[in-house]
Each structure stands twice: as C-alpha cells, then as structure tokens.
Amino acid sequence: MTTTIAPPAPPTASGSPHGAAASPVPPTTPSTAAPKIAALLGKVVRIFARIIVSILLVLVFAGPFYWMVLTAFQTASEALSIPPQFWVDAVRWDNFIAAFDRVNFGHFALNSVIVTGGTLLGQFLIIVPAAYAFARFQFKGRDVLFGVVLATMMIPGQLIFLPVFAMYAKMGLLNTHLSLILPFIASGFGIFLLRQTFMRVPDSLIEAARLDHASEFTIIRRIMLPLAKPTIVTIGLITFIGTWNNYFFPLVWTTTDAARTLPVAVPRLEALDEIAPTIVMAGNMLLVVPILIVFLLARRHIISAFTYTGVK
C-alpha cells in the first residue's frame, strides 16, 4: 500500500480542511506548522486507503459467496430479474426441497462424510508415526525413503488415475469407500510438514522422556502431538477441504453412485432439462456450509498455525 504515503502538504496549509486544527498553535513561521498538517493529512489518507482496500477485498472474497446464498433463497424470477435484486423478501427453503427432490443428497452427503472422515483418520494413523520416524530415528535408507515420500507429491493424480482404476478393478475395490480413501492417507505433504515440526522439538525433551521411562507411543502422544497441534490442525483442514471438495477422483474411480460424494452430485442439478440457478446454488450451499462450520470451529488454531514460529 505504497499509495497511502501522503504527498507533502502545500505551504499554504490554511487552505486545507485541517488548517483549523492547526490554528490554535501560536502563529509561528509556516515551516513548523506545515509538517504537522502534512502528517495529519497523511494519516487521514492512509486510513481512507485502508478502508477502501478492505472494502474491495471483502467484495472480492465475500461477494460471490453472498451471491450464492442470495440465489439459493430466491425464486427463479427474482434470480433472473434485470436489474439484479440484491436481497430477498422472505427466506424460502423451496430450492433446497427441489434440490433434494432431484438428487438423493442424503446418500451422497453420507458418502462424503465417510470418505472425508476415513481419509482424515487413516491419514493421521499413517503420517504421525511416519513423520516421527523420519524426524527422530536413524535407520538405513531413511533419506532415500523420505525422498520417495517427497516425490509422491510431484506426481499429478491425472497421470496415474487410470492404472489405479485398473488395479481397483482387479482387487474388487471399485465403488467402495475404501477406494476413495486409500490413495490419500499416505500424504507426502502431511508427512513432510509434520516431520519439520517434530524436528524442531529439542532432543533433550525426548531424552528426558526416555529417562522417565516413556514408551515411544507415550512420547508421541504426550509430547510431540501437543507441541505439533497447530501443524496437525493445518494438515487436517487442508485434507478436509481437499477431500470434501474432490470432484475428479470420486467421478473417475467409480462406476455407480454407491460411493460417490457430494461434489459429483451437485452438477447433476444442472444437467436436468430446465435451467434453475436457484436450485444449483442451493446444492452448492449444501457442499460449502460444512467447510464453513469447520473453519469457524478451527478459527483459533488456523491463526496460530499461520503465525506459528516454532516450539518453545
């Protein structure tokens, strides 16, 4: 925001609206009064600029979101009216009912919960011990193995989805929840991030715990995980959003609706004969609201995760 730096005030300071504020000052040479007014003016300009930028940011981020909520509660004619209407007269749930009539949202939502919950659970079961081992143990091939873990982050899913599909077909895993969970639980990104956090824990803490006769499991549970809480929350959120919103894999790795999730279901609202943005937006809300709730719950931890500087 370099634009907020105030230009030096003209020497004829009495012309500015803040000249009045400066007038009680005993008349001196203009050279001492001018910098004061310049500073005041600069402050005002800065505050205004900040407000304007804030408003723009809110419009950019919250605007589309507001539009979604608005449309979800409007009638079709309200939604398509010109000029556009920016509010609703009454809260109507008709669009949600219509959405449920067209697509079995309950089924897909349950699938979403199972797949997302399963991925989260499985992921932490895998990445916590893996990150601890990579961070804290000396063993043969550790660095090579860690390199392999990092390399998995660089392979685009679109490259391997077909062989994985073929594999699932052979294993009889097609159209199961497990098929949508398994590939994501060994998260290279999660292992990497958690390993970094674990490595910052002072050695002496772990040594003290070993002398206190703590098992490795106790060390992880009582010392490492509490210290890594912000990282755990961050990884959990990223995984939650990624899995909940995932459209591609639930679509291509399934052949029936048995295990398909919400993001696959919502576009079906569009595919029907009549174009109904109000119903589509109602479906979108069903998809987005859980993410908002999680964000609200985790708000405190997100802040600490992003301001996280290190273990004390």
Partner: protein, 360 residues
C-alpha cells in the same frame, strides 16, 4: 547406593573418535564431577551412563549390573539437563509425575510423592502452573524435582547450573551439596567450570581429549597435579609452568632427573621480606612487575623474569606494590616438576618437605 563402572569405553561418531578408551570407577555415594574443556568427552561419558548414547566399545555397569542393553528408563538413573528439558505441554505437577506414571505407580501414591517433593524443593505453590510461567530458578527446581521423585540411585547432571545467573548459581551449588548429603545417592555432575567442580565434588574427574587426565579429590588435584594440563586447569590464575632453567642455575641443578618443566602456583610466590634473609630451600628471583589486577580480596601481579618468561603472582591482604623492579621468593617444596611428556615427576625425597597445602 550404586557404584558406576566404565570399562574400556570407546565412542566414535563415524570416523571421528571422541573417546579412545576410558576406564572409570565412580564410587557409590560420591559426588563425582566430570570436568574439562568443551569437546573433552565429559558430556558424552555422562550420556553413555544414562543410556542416551551407545558406547562403540566397552561395557558399563551400575550397581554391579551390566546395563549395556538396558534402556535409559530402566537404569535407575535420573538426569537433569542443561536446558532443564521441562515438558512444555504439561503442568509442573504433570512434569514431576510423568516418570512415576510411566512406571505405573498407583495414582494415590503418585500424588503423595509429588506433593512431598514439591514441598522439599519449594514448588507447592506452582504445581498447577504451566512451565512457561516460571522463572529460570523455578524451572531448575522442577527439573530437580522430576529427577528426585523417582528416588534414583544415581543422579546425572549435565551442566545444570549454567543457565542461571551468578547469584542463583552460587545458591544452587550449596543446595546441591546439601541434597547430595541428604539423599546419599551417587551424583555424577558434568561441568566445564573448575569452581563448580572444586566446590561441589568429592571426587573430580578431569578430562581432556577423551582421556582422563586425573581422578582425585579436590585437594589432591590441587596439590598434586598429575601433569601440566591438570596443573593449569585448576586455579585462577593457573599454575605458572616454565622451562626448568627459568628460575636460574641453582634451581635447575636441584631439579630431579628428567625434569623439563617446573610449576609454581601463583599464590605460593611471595615478595621478599628484606628484613629476613632467604633461608635454605628458598629461591630469590629478581622480577619486573608489569601489571596488577586488584580483585578486592586478592591482588594478581603479572611479572617478567630476567629470561623474559612471565609469571602470575597472587597475594592476599597486602597493599599494592608499584610496578617495576621487585624480588620474589619461592620455596623449593612449592615447585612441581614435570618431564618432557608433561607428566608429574614424583616428589624428590627431601626430609621434612611434606607439608599441608592450604587450598585457596
């Protein structure tokens, strides 16, 4: 009561040899201080006793039992770390309790033990607090309490006082001596500070380059240093170690066979009292006083001998002498002799030369 024995202990990290071969016996109930310059292997030795490092060769036993394959938690030792290593995720009470909990001590007994220890070290008011609300001294107490509550036979301490300010450090030194008296456990204490070593230890193990230079009681270490390194490590300023010829031909001719170096402690050199002539066994040296440090209770002079070598002289309760020419006296019984390998040469058998050394 647990005696600790290290037999033929070697430790290398890859190609880097830290400790070639170490044999050390730490008497049960002693306050043994491992002291030496940084990198001498003292911390590594302590960590091997704790089981945090595995020796490359050799065997360690505690209380007569070989512990080479025993995990740290089962060795019956407790350790106090330099940075205290207090678990930041637990309250003071949970910190002290952690070891007991892992040892499956029943809850009621745990509570009783924790409160008893908290009372002893003065932490009762802080039990529910988080460690980050404590001062350095209080954290130190938590670390001590955590070690004490397990009632170990051996306490291992790795420079536990070096993070405290000077005043608190002095206070804790006395507390640790009292604690040792009261518990009767074996204390193994690592420090690089000779004052801590001398003031607390009943036995001092002076190390350098991964080797034990001397193991002795503090007075012995001061009076009869085994070699030049030992002689210069204890004492402030350190012992003056000079070529045998530096004190003149008379002293050189008295030197035992093989002597290459002579050493005199700064506090054993006196300024000549002109009203009394030098007696046999006393050597007079003409020196030039170059500088003077006034430390309040003591004065430290830097003087130069005619052959250009330098000496430190420490005197107590005397008025400062002017810089320039002076005459000093050294008693022959105060001279330590070292051979070409810087090893001590046994005292020349002069009748009546044995005298009590007053430690400074």
């Amino acid at each position: 009561m647990s005696q600790i024995e290290l037999r033929n202990i070697g430790k290398s990290y890859g190609d880097k040899e830290i400790i070639p071969s170490l044999d050390l016996t730490i008497e049960a109930g002693s306050f043994s201080v491992l002291v030496g310059p940084s990198g001498c292997g003292k911390s590594t030795t302590l960590r091997m006793i704790a089981g945090l490092e595995k020796p490359t060769t050799g065997t360690i036993s505690i209380g007569g039992k070989t512990v080479d394959d025993v995990t740290p938690g089962r060795r019956g030792v407790a350790m106090v770390f330099q940075n205290y290593a207090i678990y930041p995720t637990m309250t003071v009470e949970e910190n002290i309790e952690f070891g007991l909990r892992n040892n499956k001590v029943p809850k009621a007994e745990r509570r009783e033990l924790v409160h008893e220890i908290a009372e002893t070290v003065g932490l009762t008011a802080h039990l529910r607090k988080n460690p980050d609300a404590l001062s350095g001294g209080e954290r130190q107490r938590v670390a001590l309490a955590r070690a004490m509550v397990k009632k170990p036979a051996v306490f291992l301490m790795d420079e536990p006082l070096s993070n405290l300010d000077a005043k608190l450090r002095q206070h804790m030194r006395i507390e640790l001596i009292e604690l040792h008296e009261r518990l009767g456990a074996t204390f193994v204490y690592v420090t690089h500070d000779q004052v801590e070593a001398m003031s607390m230890g009943t036995s001092i193990v002076l190390m350098d380059g991964g080797r034990i230079q001397q193991q002795a009681a503090p007075t012995e270490l001061y009076a009869k240093p085994h070699n030049v390194f030992t002689s210069r490590f204890i004492g402030t300023p350190p012992m003056n170690v000079l070529r045998v010829g530096s004190f003149g031909a008379d002293v050189a001719s008295d030197a035992p066979a093989g002597a290459e170096w002579l050493g005199v402690r700064p506090e054993r050199i006196t300024f000549a009292d002109t009203s009394r002539p030098a007696v046999p066994g006393e050597t007079e040296l003409a020196v030039t006083i170059l500088a003077l440090e006034n430390l309040g209770a003591e004065l430290v002079y830097r003087v130069e001998l005619p052959d250009g070598s330098r000496l430190a002289i420490k005197r107590f309760d005397e008025i400062a002498r002017p810089l320039g020419h002076a005459v000093v006296r050294v008693e022959s019984t105060d001279i330590h002799w070292f051979d070409a390998n810087e090893e001590r040469i046994a005292e020349p058998a002069i009748p009546g030369a044995v005298r009590e050394v007053v430690s400074a």
